[in-house]
């Protein structure tokens, strides 16, 4: 793994005459889909299905009143987290995202039980029940949250990348944010510094077409989000976020670029959220036909299922996978329901680390 150059050998991106902002996109165009082995493909399928079933169950538990407050589901966007994170080096690379975070955690191998128990606000939850759906973290897995303030994770991701560079550990940071978040000022402040300092970070815009009830065209002067790094000389990539193999291929290209010490990449994954923004949503800003059309024609899980069947897997094989996943999710839900609430004394712990 190439060591990232340190800040002390500055090569301003502007000084590099060969720098082509579209070079990574061209590489992707040349070969769009990742050649997955049979096992890998099955893994992608299982992981995406796990996220979907988990989220469906979370939606149900919310309806039953077991989950409160905000709960943002990832249904429809599964290929993004799975395609990207399957290409990361676990225990080395860091991941950070916003409040729509359950999928990214599952894709990073975090136990569904402790995630679900956090959603129900129980002692066994990954944040001891003190964070909730939007605020989950696992330093063990180098998953750094779980942030409720739109856009904050982008600058924080820049900091995680700075730490990788500083420690010369060869790791990179994957920082996810939404199309809505892409309009926050701190995103561009971070782009500038990340490019200037050649930080090892991949900025991933999950363009699911809406920020709450606002379609991208109503909030953004430039809706081709991958171009938004241009002013900072960050190469952009536009990726079909409904195709896990394309996402994975893009990840290979982007991560290589970053690991070679060539600075950040901005990747826009075009995707779609099937459910409301949070659990209740007036759903007046888009038509049912629009949602139905994506579900029927672009579903990331169905697409992989099709390939698996073409490869000779039977419907029964796939049903068995689904059954296994349902069991895992049911166990997580039971665990989350039956785990006790945090001890009242937990109210005062973790405010500060030290005693004064």
């Amino acid at each position: 793994m190439a060591k990232a150059p340190t800040k002390t050998a500055p090569h301003s991106p502007a000084e590099n005459p060969d720098f082509a902002l579209h070079s990574l996109q061209e590489e992707l165009e040349a070969k769009k889909r990742y050649d997955a082995t049979d096992d890998q493909l099955r893994d992608f399928y299982e992981q995406m299905l796990l996220i979907r079933r988990f989220e469906e169950r979370a939606g149900q538990l919310y309806g039953l009143g077991l989950i409160g407050g905000f709960c943002h589901l990832y249904i429809g966007q599964e290929a993004v987290a799975v395609g990207l994170q399957s290409a990361l080096t676990e225990q080395l690379d860091s991941v950070i995202t916003g409040y729509r975070d359950h999928g990214h955690m599952l894709a990073y191998g975090i136990d569904p039980k402790v995630i679900m128990a956090e959603l129900t606000g129980r002692e066994a939850g990954i944040s001891k029940g003190k964070g909730g759906s939007m605020h989950m973290f696992s330093t063990e897995h180098k998953f750094y949250g779980g942030h409720g303030i739109v856009g904050a994770q982008v600058a924080l991701g820049g900091g995680l990348a700075l730490a990788h560079q500083y420690n010369e550990d060869g790791g990179l940071c994957l920082a996810y944010f939404g199309d809505g978040a892409a309009n926050q000022g701190q995103v561009y402040e971070t782009f500038n510094m990340a490019s200037l300092w050649k930080l090892p970070i991949v900025f991933v815009i999950e363009n699911n077409q809406y920020a709450m009830g606002t379609a991208v065209s109503r909030s953004s002067a430039e809706t081709e989000f991958y171009r938004r790094g241009t002013a900072f000389r960050i190469p952009g990539m536009k990726v079909n976020g409904m195709d896990v193999l394309e996402v994975r291929q893009a990840a290979e290209i982007a991560f290589k670029h970053v690991r070679e010490g060539r600075g950040p990449v901005l990747m826009e994954c075009e995707t779609y959220r099937y459910r409301g923004h949070s659990m209740s949503d007036p759903a007046k800003y888009r038509t049912r036909e629009e949602v139905q059309d994506v579900k029927e024609h672009k579903d990331p899980i169905e697409a992989v299922k099709k390939i698996l069947i073409e490869q000779g897997n039977s419907e029964d094989d796939l049903k068995a996978i689904d059954k296994g996943i349902r069991k895992v999710v049911s166990e997580a839900a039971d665990f989350a329901e039956n785990s006790p609430e945090p001890d009242p004394s937990e109210l005062y712990t973790d405010v500060l680390v030290e005693e004064y």
């Binding site: 309806g63 606000g121 409720g148």
Partner: protein, 463 residues
Amino acid sequence: MAIELKMPALSPTMEEGTLAKWLKQEGDTIEIGDIIAEIETDKATMEFEAVDEGTLGKILVAEGTENVAVGTVIAMLAGEGEDVSEAAAAAPVDDVPGEGKDVGRPEGSGEGSEAEIAKPAKKWGVKDPEIPHGTNMATVTVREALRDGMAEEMRRDERVFVMGEEVAQYQGAYKVTQGLLDEFGPKRVIDTPITEYGFAGIGTGAAMGGLRPIVEFMTFNFAMQAIDHIINSAAKTNYMSGGQMRCPVVFRGPNAAASRVGAQHSQNYGPWYASVPGLIVIAPYDASDAKGLMKAAIRCEDPVVFLENELVYGRSFELPELDDHVLPIGKARIVREGADVTIVAYSIAVGLALEAAEQLADEGIDAEVIDLRTLRPLDKETVLESLKKTNRMVIAEEGWPTCSIASEIVAICMEDGFDHLDAPVTRVCDEDVPLPYAANLEKLALIDTPRIVKAVKKVCYRD
């Protein structure tokens, strides 16, 4: 084994809704993920998605049925080869009044506040002296009162406009700007991108340029992105320009804890803004104050931070039917007269203080309750007058205790009311921790009526 399909909840506090539409019919095959029906409250629509597969059996609640209680069996789903067409009809549902809960997230903590949301608040006997005797009263929610206040001022003054996230087409994340786009059009009701720092600056600049912007923050938690403009740009320009440059902007939105939304979405910024010279800070409790002070804020020549409370939006109160209901900024109101002790509160804590006062009355303690309404400038006079009368004071505040409005009141009492004190002035606030998500911890963290009652008894030496 047939599966019962039950009326789902859009939020933990939703009790009933309308079964708007069946998208599948009896006998249809159901795949997981299929949308079976559409559920509605008056604020939101939800798609009811299948989590099991099978065949839709008997539909037990017809399309268009209103007030279907959460948990009611609405249809049966049969597995392979089963017949559920004979399933029993659902028990009839009582026609319970009350609104479907809010969009965006649940409203009301489920306990305590709920009762008050459903029914108009009690009259506490003390009229606002600003309201002429004999005025007709209408019952409206705080949400409507705020909206009406803005709409009236927009009709009156062309320079007034509203901007913020989801304020126009979506009708407001919490529906406070409902209907404004229809009436005033996109020039005056502007949807912004999610860029608080930017649009707070644009709003402030527009005020400097002669307009009267109302800048909505989806919640005040997000105004932290923009606090530089509120304080450095809006609050200080008049002073720095020697009085030349006015900045008549209103920054408004829900403030303080909502329900189960965790630490980053739950804090009270009252004390933060109230510490800044050059700002007006208003935090009303009931509908009349919400409307009257909103109108005053919009007319005010100074920058105003107007702190609302999501949990109070849906509560109904009496509102005077006046052509132009404008209330004075900087005046507290005695909302309940009493002789033994004073409870000072603002925003949602006023409701808790009134509840506490009722309970204390049963135990023979006659509490006076003051609603501060404006946090800056603070109405010291009303507070000190009351202290002079009761000689004992408790401050109830939904917020952290350290450097709070409560602390400020204690300081005022020490400096200017010392001779009237018969007991230490006591703060009742939230616990001094970030707000936890877990239901039990959240409840422990937040101020409640029993804590106020306890503190009052203590200052009355009755514990």
